[in-house]
Subunit: 298 residues, 2 copies
């Protein structure tokens, strides 16, 4: 089988389990509160790639765990990712109207509900991390709580997003670009890999290797995201392209050019693969995912 075929065979049952779990664990629409469960479901259940949950599961399996053992945390990571998209799309931030081919949450439900739906998704993510205690020792759950909260907060995703916004229409410095990339997207991708490993009792050596893998993968992902924003097919991506350039965002292609950006993504792919050298076939899905992240077209 090709890598793509092997990855597809790996993903299919796992993506199905993730979709079912998200569907089951998201609040059902009811009498009160109105609109909020609908807005949360609208934002999450829209055919996303589910990369963060998949990375969490693949890392768990790479250290001898199973998908079932980490499913609450895997879904929590997807809710956090979705919350960040809902807030980033708001008019005061990126003002995006299209996401995965559909109107963004605030276009569909109004700005107030979108802000609160993001908040509720964030709270619900931590609710699911608490639920992880049904499968994992509580000290591991608290470790993951700290890891994820750090990956999201001022020194993680949100800090990266702030620098991303403040850097619009500014001259780009390599330092600021590296900060934005490692924080805005990289931190949560790294935390996704590490949380799966930690919950399944990874050895310190395995954890360290997966830390390097997750960091390289996160950087590669964001570089490719920047490239796709310049060169991708809007229909395939489900969102507008050229928006980074229009907003004068700090991106890899703008600072280094497309060719150097592609090269750097390949280097990070190699770094990610190198980090997994001490693992056997149990880490093959992580290897396929690293290839996918760099070679994807959406």
């Amino acid at each position: 089988m090709t890598i793509n075929a092997e990855l597809d065979a790996y993903l299919q049952p796992r993506l199905q389990a993730i979709e079912q779990a998200l569907e089951r664990w998201l609040p059902a629409p009811g009498e009160r509160p109105r609109l909020l469960p609908e807005a949360m479901r609208y934002a999450v259940l829209n055919g996303g790639k589910r990369l963060r949950p998949i990375l969490c599961i693949a890392a768990a399996e790479a250290v001898g765990g199973t998908m079932e053992q980490v499913l609450p945390t895997a879904c929590a990571l997807e809710l956090i990712h979705t919350f960040s998209l809902v807030h980033d799309d708001l008019p005061a931030l990126d003002n995006d109207t299209l996401r995965r081919g559909k109107p963004t949450c605030h276009v569909q439900f109004g700005e107030a509900i979108a802000i609160l739906a993001g908040d509720a998704l964030f709270a619900h993510a931590f609710r699911l991390i608490a639920q992880q205690v049904e499968h994992s020792p509580p000290e591991r759950v608290v470790h993951v709580l700290k890891l994820v909260a750090d990956a999201v907060g001022v020194d993680g995703m949100v800090g990266g997003q702030v620098e991303d916004i403040l850097s619009e229409r500014e001259p780009i410095s390599p330092e600021t670009l590296a900060y934005i990339h490692s924080h805005k997207t990289g931190a949560l991708l790294r935390a996704s890999v590490l949380s799966g490993a930690i919950l399944c009792g990874a050895t310190p050596a395995a954890e360290q290797a997966l830390d390097i893998y997750g960091t390289a993968l996160g950087l590669a992902f964001q570089i490719v995201d920047d490239i796709l924003n310049e060169t991708g097919d809007p229909a395939r991506l489900g969102k507008a392209t050229g928006t980074d350039r229009a907003r004068q965002k700090a991106t890899y292609p703008r600072l280094y050019g497309l060719e150097a950006s592609r090269l750097r993504a390949q280097q990070e792919l190699q770094n990610a693969l190198d980090a997994l050298k001490s693992f056997g076939a149990e880490a093959n899905p992580l290897r396929w995912l690293a290839h996918y992240v760099v070679e994807r077209e959406r």
Copy 2:
């Protein structure tokens, strides 16, 4: 001593410890991310009443614990409260420009930074709950994580806020008003009381009594908030009054009148005090706080 003098003597060292801990545990301004630590500190370090941390500490002490044992969670509750204020004040929600006598966060820092500062405060709160493991068994920390996440999310504070917004300019029903009050403010106040108790190993009976206390206190608090919005002194409150009426919000005074609202607040005070009957002097601060909540003028 009068109740006020006793409460003041109780509060003084605890408020000082809370302020110091918030100051220490909030991120310090640095090179990157710009503005975000400043906005977080601006929103939090502004002379708030710190009612939620105080309730957490007083409940801990009522079951034989100490302030030091619960300080990270006490501060986390204040960060969550502040995050909710920052988002509620946004133009798309309540559009408030004054909070505790100062410009609201989005007036001071712009809407994008205010949205992200709220998100970062929320993440930081869970970071502090994880830090609670330095003082408490991890299974108790996970219990508190679940309690707090539930109190904030779709069936808690955020759900109440959604109904509050959707109910503007609608005919008020007693059921919707009760939902808004118990969720928007009540849920986090109740969780503040319960988390202090749970972290310090409260018996099931004590936890049940404090649950009733916290629920009654939460309702009393919101009724008095509604009354103060109608009759309070803007200078003392540090925010505009009459805003609920202008926005046609669902409030106690609007549905039941001022006199019946005052009576109901007194009844809830009595319910809160009755719930503490099995406690001795160790619960006196909780009793004084219940009086304070109903009799306060700001």
